[in-house]
């Protein structure tokens, strides 16, 4: 009986050793961190809309110490005054990001100006407080036109909104970024401001495309207070030289050496060996003369 009691105590202590430090650490950590809950919407090139909430715990003392909140359940809504439509629910990834994609034919509750209010909500847990963010955006029609005029490759970006009667209203004073798709990320080519709903940019002619010479050009409105994020893209075959696919002309990596190398090496070796042969032939002559002298003696 006594033995059993000691065994139980030992088990409890061991269990406590494994568990306690982690619990303490978690409690302490949470007090040191400030929750950063962010929400944005991106209108995609195919007219669908992505809702993205990021949930990061940032250390109050150490700015570099940022921990993504993993597995937090985020609900997305479309609201208009008292009305509330659930758009979907998802959990944050290991990067602390929760995303849902709304199809292009999704119907939204809009106010009189045609604006859509979207909301992301984290309900909270025993340890973590509730978080919510709300954004209001107006739907923007963004288009990219790629044309070649007098051998000048031109990107034309057009952007407008639609009023309640369906009349297009050109965007004013909105910043737009022109970029091209690279292997790993997009390369920014130009940043400008839309005037009368239009912006034009002359592309450089020395950009490599993909294997087939295709280039994908992006026009992006980023983090705009009225329109949120809007992205549009277009691919064109501008036949630019793809540098990475150029044939490597380093002859030393080829299967056969360049002819000049054979010629130089042959001349060098022939010259040297001819001298060796000449020397050896002279040695034989010396030997022959020596033999004659010996015979005469």
């Amino acid at each position: 009986m006594k033995f059993n009691l000691f065994t139980y105590i030992a088990y409890i202590l061991l269990f406590g050793l494994f568990l306690a430090p982690n619990v303490m650490a978690q409690e302490m950590n949470l007090r040191d961190y400030r929750m950063r809950f962010r929400f944005k919407t991106v209108k995609q090139p195919d007219q669908s809309r992505m809702l993205e909430a990021s949930f990061i715990a940032a250390n109050k003392k150490d700015r570099k110490d940022r921990l993504p909140v993993y597995g937090a359940e985020i609900s997305f809504f479309n609201i208009l005054e008292e009305e509330k439509v659930a758009l979907g629910t998802t959990k944050t990834s290991k990067e602390g990001i929760a995303r849902i994609l709304l199809p292009k034919d999704q119907s939204y509750l809009r106010d009189e100006e045609g604006k859509v209010t979207l909301k992301a909500v984290f309900e909270g847990t025993d340890e973590m407080d509730m978080e919510e963010r709300e954004i209001t955006v107006k739907d923007v029609q963004l288009s990219v036109e790629l044309s070649e005029k007098d051998s000048v490759q031109t990107v034309q970006v057009n952007a407008h909104t639609l009023d309640s009667l369906g009349v297009a209203i050109p965007l004013e004073e909105a910043d737009v970024i022109i970029s091209v798709q690279g292997m790993l990320s997009r390369m920014v080519m130009d940043e400008g401001t839309l005037e009368d709903g239009m912006y034009e940019y002359k592309m450089p002619i020395d950009l490599p495309g993909d294997m087939d010479g295709n280039m994908t050009v992006f026009a992006t409105i980023e983090d705009h207070e009225d329109y949120g994020d809007v992205v549009q893209k277009k691919t064109v075959k501008w036949e630019v030289t793809n540098i990475s696919n150029q044939e490597n002309k380093n002859h030393l990596w080829s299967e056969v050496a360049p002819i000049w190398m054979y010629v130089v090496l042959t001349i060098l070796l022939a010259g040297i060996w001819a001298n060796f042969a000449y020397t050896i032939s002279n040695l034989f002559k010396i030997k022959k003369e020596g033999q004659k002298l010996e015979q005469s003696l």
């Binding site: 060996w273 050896i280 003369e289």
Partner: protein, 447 residues
């Protein structure tokens, strides 16, 4: 001058060093053989257990074998260069050093390539180099150049030996029978007739020019093995001339050391005089200045361009290899310069000391060229064991290295037993010329 009598006298004078190995000589040979035997044991261990027994790993694939290979080749190159120059320009003091230089050339050219063979993990595929050569590869150029250079140097060495073989053949009283036979066959019937002399002189002069060219080509090719790669620290346009100057520097150093030891051991003070050391010291000074200039230029350009990988390499050199860097590139250059520059400091012993410092510094300089570059590659291997990244030679490598040095000294000693270390024919020529000059002067003074 009775030439036949003089030849007899010279053979008598040099016979003891060729025939009777003294007590110290025997001890030396025993030590050298023990070192070579140790090397053979290490070689068997390496062949049976593989390259794993060496310090060479994924990052550093060229260790002290390669360093020794470069070092010995540079001795050979500088020996060939010096010997070629001495013969080609018929330098007055060539008799004292020419044979030493010629033997150094050939022996180091035999020992050096053995080290590169030790570096190969698959010796069974060695013949592939000749069956499937890639003409565009500097390794193939190296194989061709070294083979051609070796044949050329052996031929040249033989040409310079012929008159002495003939003298030894004609004055072989008291020599063992096998030696008589050997000298007779090696002398190829040379009787020093005017036509034989003219012919031999002509081909020796041609070959002396040839070995200079061959040495420059061979050592440049060796430098290109490094400089034609894009590795930081190796990819340099001045590497070939830098290697040649460095080779000359260390070669002159080894020649001075050999002169000192031979002079002291065989008591040849009247043949190898202080004037010879002073002349060699001046050459050592000039090559030290040139070598220092090239070294500074090489590192200065890398430091000033401040390319990331060059900066990393310099960082490694100035941190991990600090003392070696100081020894190789400061002490190894400045101390010999300081010793030989001041007239008051120029004695036989100090010049020899400067030569020892130069040779040791040069060996460490080769180490700094070969190893740190491989330890700082373009694509660092992550999460690997430190011993895979950083190189340190194992006992097997050291045993084989010392065996190589021992083989070099032993071959040198054996060749010294075959022919006199001071060419007898050269002494006779020198004395004949001196007599003719004196005769000429006397005739001029007479009315």
């Amino acid at each position: 001058m009775d030439i036949a009598l003089r030849k007899k006298e010279l053979v008598k004078e040099f016979s003891p060093m060729m025939l009777k190995p003294g007590k110290w000589s025997k001890i030396w040979i025993a030590i050298l053989l023990a070192l070579i035997l140790g090397g053979l044991v290490a070689f068997v261990v390496q062949v049976t257990q593989g390259q794993e027994v060496t310090g060479m790993r994924d990052n550093v694939v060229w260790g002290i074998y390669t360093i020794n290979f470069i070092f010995f080749l540079c001795l050979s190159y500088s020996g060939a260069f010096a010997s070629g120059v001495l013969h080609f320009f018929n330098t007055p003091w060539k008799n004292a050093v020419s044979r030493i230089v010629e033997i150094i050339t050939v022996v180091s050219l035999i020992v050096g390539p053995i080290f590169i063979i030790l570096c190969m993990a698959r010796l069974d595929r060695l013949h592939y180099l000749f069956i499937y050569p890639r003409i565009q590869s500097p390794i193939t150029w190296d194989v061709i150049a070294i083979t051609t250079d070796l044949i050329g140097c052996l031929l040249y060495l033989y040409l310079t030996f012929i008159p002495d073989f003939a003298i030894l053949r004609d004055n072989s009283e008291g020599l063992p029978k096998w030696r008589k036979k050997l000298y007779t066959s090696l002398a190829i019937g040379y009787r020093d007739t005017p036509s034989q002399r003219r012919r031999l002189h002509k081909i020796t002069k041609i070959m002396s020019a040839m070995v200079i060219a061959l040495a420059i080509i061979t050592y440049s090719v060796l430098a290109w093995i490094f400089s034609l790669t894009l590795q930081p620290g190796w990819n340099s346009t001045i590497f070939a001339p830098y290697f040649i100057v460095a080779g000359l520097y260390s070669g002159v150093g080894v020649i001075i050391i050999a002169m000192y030891l031979i002079r002291k051991y065989f008591k040849l003070d009247h043949y190898i005089r202080k004037a010879h050391f002073l002349s060699a010291g001046v050459i050592l000074l000039i090559t030290a200045l040139l070598y220092g200039y090239f070294t500074f230029s090489e590192y200065f350009a890398r430091w000033f361009s401040h390319k990331t990988h060059d900066a990393n390499l310099l960082d490694t050199l100035f941190n991990d290899y600090f003392w070696m860097f100081i020894l190789a590139n400061y002490i190894g250059i400045l101390v010999p310069i300081a010793i030989v520059f001041f007239k008051k400091l120029r004695t036989i012993k100090t010049i020899t000391f400067a030569a020892v410092i130069a040779v040791v510094g040069l060996w460490f300089n080769r180490y700094l060229i070969v190893v740190p570059t491989q330890e700082t590659p373009y694509l660092p291997i992550q999460d690997t064991r430190p011993e895979f990244v950083h190189y340190s030679a194992t006992w097997v490598e050291w045993a084989l290295s010392f065996a190589g040095v021992a083989a070099f000294v032993l071959f040198f000693m054996l060749l010294m037993r075959l022919v006199p270390i001071i060419p007898m024919s050269g002494i006779i020529d020198y004395e004949k010329k001196g007599k003719a000059r004196r005769k000429g002067l006397t005739q001029q003074q007479q009315p």
